[in-house]
């Protein structure tokens, strides 16, 4: 575990200020996003950033909560806003219809909100209207799915898909401990999405470093049903597996069902995204699930905090830089039985 953290830190240190921000942010959100929300953020801050300031009106729009992770995005954002009495959060209906999402942003522009936190259903499709908002003097924070123009957002908060693959691969290497004959399998998400390709590339790159490769790979579609189908095929194809990485914990429910049906126990399974179910299974330690890699569902919550800082013209207290950074890439740590209690608080229910 410690080697992973060292490697991660070393890698991230290269990005300089952003890396520092990443660590600070993930530390903050782990404490603050839980629902019962004890104000742990206040303890951590060494400036008066969390003190009530000028009123900030923030518009928030995200896709429909059709899977656990997406549901948690909005829930965490709302919970975060509630911790500040100077934030007035306007939450628009979650939608997968870009036409409707555009009109929600137009409404925010009409309302002359101070900032907009936007997780687009489709980054490219929302670029034009986000730019319109920026032109109207509204601070736009882009979350998770990037716009295709740098002019469309003041700051972008992202998860680290490539990093997820690296974290999972490094964990496997660690466990394999130099044995190059281990069989590694991978169940990916929707294969044509850039995020899936990034995750797979990171996984492959990390495995290559210790002489391992992906022996069997199938793709599912992030849903429980597709996970079950893909996993049963995979288990048929590979009679013996040592390590299995599943990209997504929502589809993982189906993957686990297939494993149970096939009565297989010989391998170690690593999850992805970090759902509460999976973390509880890791904690109980009675299934093949021994680890998962986090894709933070607190991105929008962080975006709310950043929007507030930007509108109130404050800087990030733990950076020497005056301005809030242009981009924040959140870390993708590995969760195991040893550190599961730290992360379970911020996990999402699938």
């Amino acid at each position: 575990m410690s080697t992973i953290h060292h490697r991660r830190r070393r890698g991230l240190a290269l990005i300089g200020a952003i890396a520092a921000a990443t660590l600070v942010l993930s530390a903050c959100t782990n404490g603050s996003s839980s629902d019962d929300g004890a104000n742990s953020t206040v303890d951590k801050s060494n400036t008066d950033n969390d003190k009530s300031g000028d009123k900030v009106v923030i518009g928030f729009s995200a896709p429909a909560a059709d899977h656990g992770w997406m549901g948690a995005i909005t829930k965490n954002a709302v919970a975060q806003a509630k911790q500040y009495d100077d934030i007035d959060l306007k939450v628009a209906e979650g939608t997968n219809d870009v036409n409707l999402q555009i009109s929600q942003v137009e409404t925010f522009i009409n309302d002359k909100v101070d900032a907009i936190v936007l997780l687009p259903f489709d980054g490219a499709a929302m670029t034009a209207v986000a730019r319109k908002a920026m032109d109207a003097g509204i601070i736009v924070i882009n979350v998770d799915r990037e716009f295709d123009s740098p002019f469309a957002a003041r700051t972008t908060v992202l998860g680290d898909n490539y990093g997820m693959g690296v974290s999972a691969g490094t964990y496997v290497c660690d466990k394999a401990n130099g044995d190059k004959n281990k069989v590694v399998a991978e169940i990916a998400g929707i294969d044509s999405l850039p995020l899936t390709q990034d995750r797979s590339r990171g996984f492959k790159d990390a495995l290559t470093k210790c002489g391992l490769k992906v022996n069997n790979r199938v793709a599912a579609e992030f849903t429980v049903e597709s996970g079950e189908k893909a996993a049963s095929n995979l288990l048929q194809a590979a009679p013996k597996i040592d390590y299995l990485w599943n990209h997504d914990d929502d589809q993982g429910v189906g993957v686990l069902a297939a494993i149970k049906n096939a009565n297989r126990k010989e391998f170690v399974m690593i999850g992805g995204a970090g759902s509460a179910n999976v973390m509880r299974a890791i904690k109980a330690d009675n299934t093949v699930l021994k680890a998962t890699v986090i894709y933070p569902s607190t991105q929008a919550a962080d975006a709310i905090k950043l929007a507030r800082l930007l509108v109130q013209k404050k800087s990030m207290s733990d950076l020497s830089e005056i301005e809030v950074p242009r981009e924040l890439k959140l870390s993708a740590p590995v969760v195991t039985k040893d550190n599961v209690d730290t992360y379970l608080k911020s996990a999402f229910e699938s």
Binding site: D97, V98, N99, L100, S103, T107, N110, A125, T127, V129
Partner: protein, 333 residues
């Protein structure tokens, strides 16, 4: 000859579509819309009753509105089309491939508009031929189109979002002559043409006749099969226009465009007062249906209300509207 004959031999069916009944039904819709606006003004005041907000509502209504006008014709003609959203997606993808876009560079952005409209119309023709000549139930034929058109869109786009690089295209459709957004103007034009076509032409009269009683229509000399193909082709064309509007709004073409449009369009048409079984239809009613749903969405957004509450409200409105419609129809006949 049959053209003039038809309009005179079937006055009763057609007359009911736009006659006194239509006025009464539209009156209910006006009341519903006014009530919604009152709620909007009470809860959001100037935020609701501003010009900017009205334009926001109309821009949102424009895309689904154009599809709904086309849907009015198909439903009036006794059919149904579940594939409209998928056709919008396919048209938007086809019109934004690198091939089409490089052609647009050479010949102007009008190429993109034409390809979207042609692809939409072609899909409509396929639907119509399958239904009229293949004798496949509309529900099934268009369900098949829904699956295959969206699948084809995914294959062509490789599930990626295709970005429109032509500045002329986005400038033209993003323009606001006299302060009115271009897509709202297009919506208004489509509505006008639709109203004229349905109420003032033999094409419209035949549509009522085919929807009301296909056998009688055939005996009256209408080529029912050919007319059915026309109706679906017309809806396909409006889907192509909607795709162009969506492309201008998002500056992209994508296989995920138009998700769920079939249900939104059918709901708007039905609460507008068009009979789902055909034979009676109103373009003005559909216009109100679309505006009512978009205003509802707007009022909910302005008041920070949740998805789930909005879905419930939509459901209730559909049921109440249809119940009212039946009461009014009973009283008048």
């Amino acid at each position: 000859m049959s053209a003039t004959d038809t309009s005179t031999t079937l006055p009763s069916t057609a007359g009911r579509g736009g006659g006194s009944l239509g006025v009464a039904r539209n009156l209910g819709l006006v009341i519903a819309l006014v009530l919604l606006c009152v709620v909007g003004i009470i809860t959001s005041g100037d935020r609701f009753a501003s010009t900017d907000n009205m334009l926001t509502i109309l821009r949102l209504a424009a895309v689904i509105g154009v599809v709904s006008i086309g849907m009015t014709f198909v439903i009036t003609g006794g059919g149904i089309d579940l594939s409209v959203g998928a056709i919008v997606a396919l048209s938007s993808v086809w019109a934004t491939t690198t091939g089409t876009q490089s052609m647009a560079d050479d010949f102007g952005w009008i190429v993109m508009v034409f390809s979207a409209v042609i692809v939409g119309t072609a899909c409509g023709v396929v639907n119509g031929v399958l239904i009229a000549y293949g004798k496949i139930v509309p529900f099934i034929a268009t369900l098949a189109m829904l699956a295959s058109a969206r699948g084809l869109a995914e294959i062509i786009a490789d599930r990626k979002t295709q970005i429109i690089t032509d500045q002329g295209f986005t400038d033209f459709f993003g323009a606001e002559p006299l302060g009115i957004p271009m897509i709202v103007i297009i919506f208004a034009l489509v509505t006008l043409v639709g109203w004229f076509l349905l109420n003032r032409t033999t094409f419209g009269r035949r549509t009522f006749a085919v929807g009301g009683n296909p056998e009688a229509a055939r005996l009256a000399g209408i080529k029912v099969q050919r007319h059915t193909v026309y109706l679906y082709a017309l809806l396909g064309t409006t889907c192509g226009i909607a795709a162009v509007m969506l492309m201008s709004r998002t500056t992209t073409g994508s296989s995920t465009h138009g998700l769920g449009y079939e249900l939104d369009a059918i709901a708007a048409v039905v609460i507008g007062g068009t009979l789902l079984s055909g034979g009676r239809g109103t373009v003005i009613g559909t216009l109100f249906g679309v505006i009512i749903f978009t205003t509802l969405t707007n009022v909910f957004t302005l008041n920070n209300l949740s998805t789930s509450a909005q879905a419930v409200a939509k459901g209730v409105i559909i049921v109440v509207a249809v119940l009212l419609q039946q009461r009014i129809a009973d009283r008048k006949t």
